[in-house]
């Protein structure tokens, strides 16, 4: 643990404190994943504030109810341990929400006092299985993601939660023993928008093989208006579907920066021999091609003509807009995998990211960005462990044309007096952040229009004449 700890400060960091963070803490990511599982409610083992802050932050982006329970530490809990609080919280949440599952996460507080949550949960499950035997009602499945807020970012919590769910459920289906299952596929999405998840459903359906998409908050975090109050908004990956992930033909994971110890696909491969393939987030032609090829490889089915048509239109659009894009300079920031994919997309247009940053600490980020941006005329400034104030300080000399990323880059763009193209997470100052489509050929087309139109607008508004034909 200590050896691991020493590494946490990356050499690229020049300032001691973090000024306007470009990351969130780990429990956040875990909560998002748990809300992407059918009937699952997150429960944070820590102070009341953690759950309230995370809810508020998420609600401001998704504009949906996000109920997250808390075990609500008090001073005596911190001294004597949180077991009683956790048990009370589990039983109260079960009573009020009647969930199919509860996703427990830890916090900096519960980790620092050394809470043995897996042991608490195991004992709780044992006790209640006695109760169930004695005629009690069926109780929810329990997951536990260890998410100390002082380690990693929200993405570590995101991957850890997926890992906790898969490693708990996969292979436990009672049905799979006797019934011959149709071939099926697993897809583990990264932290993408609700719209992206709907797009992934469309793409997967077109390969005509049953699949498990995990997590899936396409509906639970972007639902319609209600007739009755829903305790837990519907939608989410069904538990039974997760149980069957162990017998899939393969697992595709979007994103390549997942640490191996959090990687659910690696776990499925080593425990059940389910082939694991990691592909970059499918943004841009090349990344999307790689994703579709992998789908073809696992399903044995060709890419449908429908997608080839979209791909054709995307190339057509690239060509139509290429002059507005070539040689322009961008600042890109956000989660590692998202940034890698956006850079890959921009480089396809001849746009040069001049400053590329992530809030995560990563040894490989720089080399991977540089290999994607090898065509850049000048080497981009690549920062891991970055924050927004440092980005602004560095960006001033780079004369960027636009900024691309979450709404947290607003001040960066405002200070540089250049446009912010909002995408990724979070979008707190516009409607529909969760409905932005980034993935696949259609997502790329959407981003292309956003980028190209922003550049055209700059050209139009900076012209004295203000052409109406461009």
């Amino acid at each position: 643990m200590i050896a691991e700890a020493i590494k946490t400060k990356s050499p690229s960091r020049s300032y001691t404190s973090t000024r306007n963070a470009c990351k969130l803490c780990a429990p956040f990511g875990a909560c998002i994943v748990f809300r992407g599982i059918s009937g699952c409610i997150p429960l944070i083992h820590g102070s009341q504030g953690c759950s309230t802050y995370i809810r508020r932050y998420g609600i401001s982006h998704f504009r949906e109810p996000i109920d997250i329970a808390s075990s609500n530490f008090t001073e005596s809990t911190a001294i004597f341990g949180g077991r009683d609080n956790l048990e009370l919280a589990l039983s109260n949440v079960t009573r009020q929400y009647k969930p199919e599952a509860i996703g427990v996460t830890s916090t900096c507080l519960s980790e620092t006092i050394g809470e043995n949550v897996p042991m608490y949960i195991a004992q709780y499950e044992k006790d209640r299985s006695e109760r169930e035997k004695n005629g009690g009602s069926k109780e929810p499945a329990l997951f536990y993601a260890s998410t100390p807020s002082y380690r990693g970012t929200h993405m570590d919590g995101f991957h850890e939660a997926i890992y906790s769910v898969v490693s708990k459920l996969a292979g436990t289906s009672v049905a799979s023993e006797n019934v011959e299952e149709p071939k099926h596929l697993n897809l583990i999405s990264g932290f993408v928008s609700s719209e992206d998840l709907r797009e992934l459903h469309k793409i997967l359906s077109s390969f005509e093989m049953p699949y498990t998409l995990l997590p899936d908050y396409s509906e639970s975090l972007d639902g319609g208006s209600w007739e009755e109050y829903q305790k837990l908004p519907k939608g989410g990956t069904p538990l039974e579907s997760i149980r069957r992930m162990s017998s899939a033909v393969g697992t595709i994971t979007l994103g390549e920066s997942i640490p191996r110890e959090h990687d659910a696909s690696a776990w499925l491969e080593s425990n059940f021999g389910v082939k694991a393939a990691r592909v970059p987030m499918p943004i841009g032609i090349e990344n999307t091609d790689a994703f579709f090829s992998q789908l073809t490889e696992f399903t044995g089915r060709p890419i449908s003509q429908k997608w080839m048509d979209v791909r054709g239109r995307l190339i057509d659009a690239y060509i139509d807009g290429h002059k507005y894009c070539f040689g322009k300079k961008a600042i890109v920031y956000g989660e590692e995998d998202f940034v890698l994919a956006i850079c890959s997309f921009l480089s396809e247009l001849g746009i040069e990211p001049v400053l590329v940053a992530t809030g995560a600490v990563s040894d490989s980020f720089k080399s991977r960005i540089l290999s994607i941006l090898k065509k850049n005329r000048s080497e981009p400034l690549v920062m891991d462990d970055a924050d927004f104030v440092t980005m602004l300080e560095k960006a001033k000399d780079l004369s960027p044309d636009f900024v691309m990323g979450s709404s947290k880059g607003f001040y960066l763009a405002k200070n540089l007096e250049i446009p912010l193209i909002r995408c990724g997470f979070p979008i707190h100052d516009r409607m529909g952040g969760h409905r932005i489509l980034h993935l696949g050929y259609r997502g790329t087309l959407n981003l292309f229009d956003l980028v190209c139109n922003t550049l055209m607008q700059i050209k139009q508004s900076s012209s004295k004449i203000g052409y109406t034909y461009i």
Binding site: Y15, R19, P65, N72, A78, A89, T112, G224, E227, Y229
Partner: protein
């Protein structure tokens, strides 16, 4: 069917039906989805508007990230307060302690930003890893020659109210540092207004017209130097008394400054806030000027409210806010619009507060303490509310149930205080309730037979 947890049953009260004393002031029940935050949140929201101070959150990144630019507090000058600084503690510091990083962060930030003072907020794990925040702050204060104030706001050490107290204790240390700047004999401090959307500027203008000098604002559009002479003002005028009564009491004990509680929301309460100050000074000229201000403002405002009232008469509202003082004012303000309050609750109300709510609301009104989304949705439906007043966390509950919403929390971007604020409030409530979108809401169609 939504059930109320046994532990919470006495925190919900139906006016005219139940006879027990409403339970309150308790830690939230584990597993209930409380809308409350934590001690840190209480301190952070109170101190945040002090614009020329450095605010450094000592802990892992989350606490700073979730509170970056979270408040709608405005400044007439320095924007330093809007930056989110964190020591961003990592595993290394959790093992070996965070003092070195805290010290280095403070020195670096003070050198770069030259603040007038620095606040260091302790988060949950700071005490557990054994950091002596007091000692680090004292050292940096000595070396840099500015006040560096620890705020003991570990999240789990109580409720948001304890955070208010920690903030008051920290800010109290800034009071009394300036004995040279002259202060008018008719001077007040405004405590507990946070200048959301520029509200304190509206209030200050009223006092100015009355001939009253505002010596310092704690903490809306706050300045360290101004707070330094707050002890010379003749009266503390406390709004948001839940958060600032501690400071008012400390200033009374130490400096002998009396205080009054006021609210700047609604017509009666806003008028009282001005008259109470005028009466305190018992000066004929001030009283006359106050009458003039109130008369002018009210006579401009009332006719404008009429058209809103015509549309809103008979509508029903649910209110769920942080402090109960705000709830009192809202019940009264809504009455001016012809709206009846059918559900009202707060995160931090006291027995006395809830008794007062019983008095000012009608039979059948639900009064609730530290409620949660499920209960709120149940009450809204049972009581047929057309409007919910709350904060961002309550907003989706209203919208999913197809009812109007007014943000009266600290993120708001509309000034709702003062007479002008009453007009904005009415406009906001009106524009949400009267929007044609509700007629498409499935919940509305089912439960109310459509919007009209």
């Amino acid at each position: 069917m939504i059930e109320i947890l046994d532990e919470r049953k006495r925190q919900v009260f139906e006016n005219g039906k139940d006879s027990y004393n409403i339970a309150c002031g308790k830690a939230s029940t584990a597993g209930s989805v409380s809308q409350r935050a934590c001690v840190f949140c209480g301190s952070r929201v109170v101190l945040y508007p002090i614009a020329d101070a450095l605010h450094l959150v000592h802990g892992p990144i989350g606490c700073a990230a979730y509170t970056w630019d979270i408040r709608g507090s405005l400044s007439s000058g320095s924007e330093l307060y809007r930056l989110s600084f964190s020591t961003d503690l990592r595993e290394n510091e959790v093992i070996y302690g965070g003092e070195k990083k805290l010290y280095a962060s403070l020195v670096e930030l003070i050198d770069q930003y030259a603040p007038k003072a620095a606040f260091v907020y302790s988060t949950c794990i700071v005490g557990l890893i054994g950091d002596d925040v007091d000692a680090v702050c004292a050292r940096v204060s000595r070396e840099k020659g500015i006040p560096v104030l620890p705020v003991f706001s570990e999240g789990f050490k109580g409720t948001k109210k304890d955070g208010y107290r920690a903030a008051c204790e920290a800010v109290f240390k800034l009071v009394g540092r300036d004995n040279t700047t002259p202060v008018s004999p008719f001077s007040i401090n405004i405590l507990g207004d946070f200048n959301l959307a520029g509200e304190i500027w509206i209030i200050k203008e009223y006092y100015r017209k009355m001939g009253i000098e505002v010596t310092s604002c704690i903490t809306g559009d706050g300045r360290v130097d101004e707070i330094g002479r707050a002890h010379k003002a003749k009266l503390n005028v406390v709004q948001c008394s839940g958060s600032m009564s501690y400071l008012a009491k400390m200033m009374k004990e130490t400096y002998g400054i009396p205080f009054i509680r006021v609210s700047y929301f609604g017509i009666e309460d806003m008028s009282s806030a001005l008259y109470d100050v005028a009466n305190f000074f018992d000066n004929k000229e001030i009283i006359e000027k106050t009458q003039k201000v109130v008369l002018e403002e009210v006579s401009t405002l009332l006719p404008q409210l009429e058209s809103f009232r015509r549309d809103l008469e008979g509508k029903k509202a649910a209110i769920y806010v942080g402090g109960s003082f705000k709830a009192f004012s809202l019940v009264k303000a809504l009455r001016h619009l012809g709206i009846q309050t059918v559900v009202v609750g707060s995160q931090t109300g006291t027995q006395e507060d809830y008794n007062y709510l019983k008095e000012i609301t009608e039979e059948g009104t639900i009064i609730c303490d530290d409620t949660n989304p499920l209960e709120l949705s149940k009450f809204i439906l049972e009581k047929g509310a057309d409007l919910l007043i709350g904060g961002v966390k309550e907003r989706p509950i209203a919208y999913k149930m197809g009812i109007a919403f007014c943000d009266h929390n600290h993120e708001r971007k509309e000034a709702l205080a003062g007479f002008e604020g009453m007009l904005n409030f009415s406009r906001e409530v009106h524009s949400s309730i009267m929007s044609p979108v509700w007629k498409y809401s499935p919940a509305r169609i089912k439960h109310a037979g459509g919007a009209e």
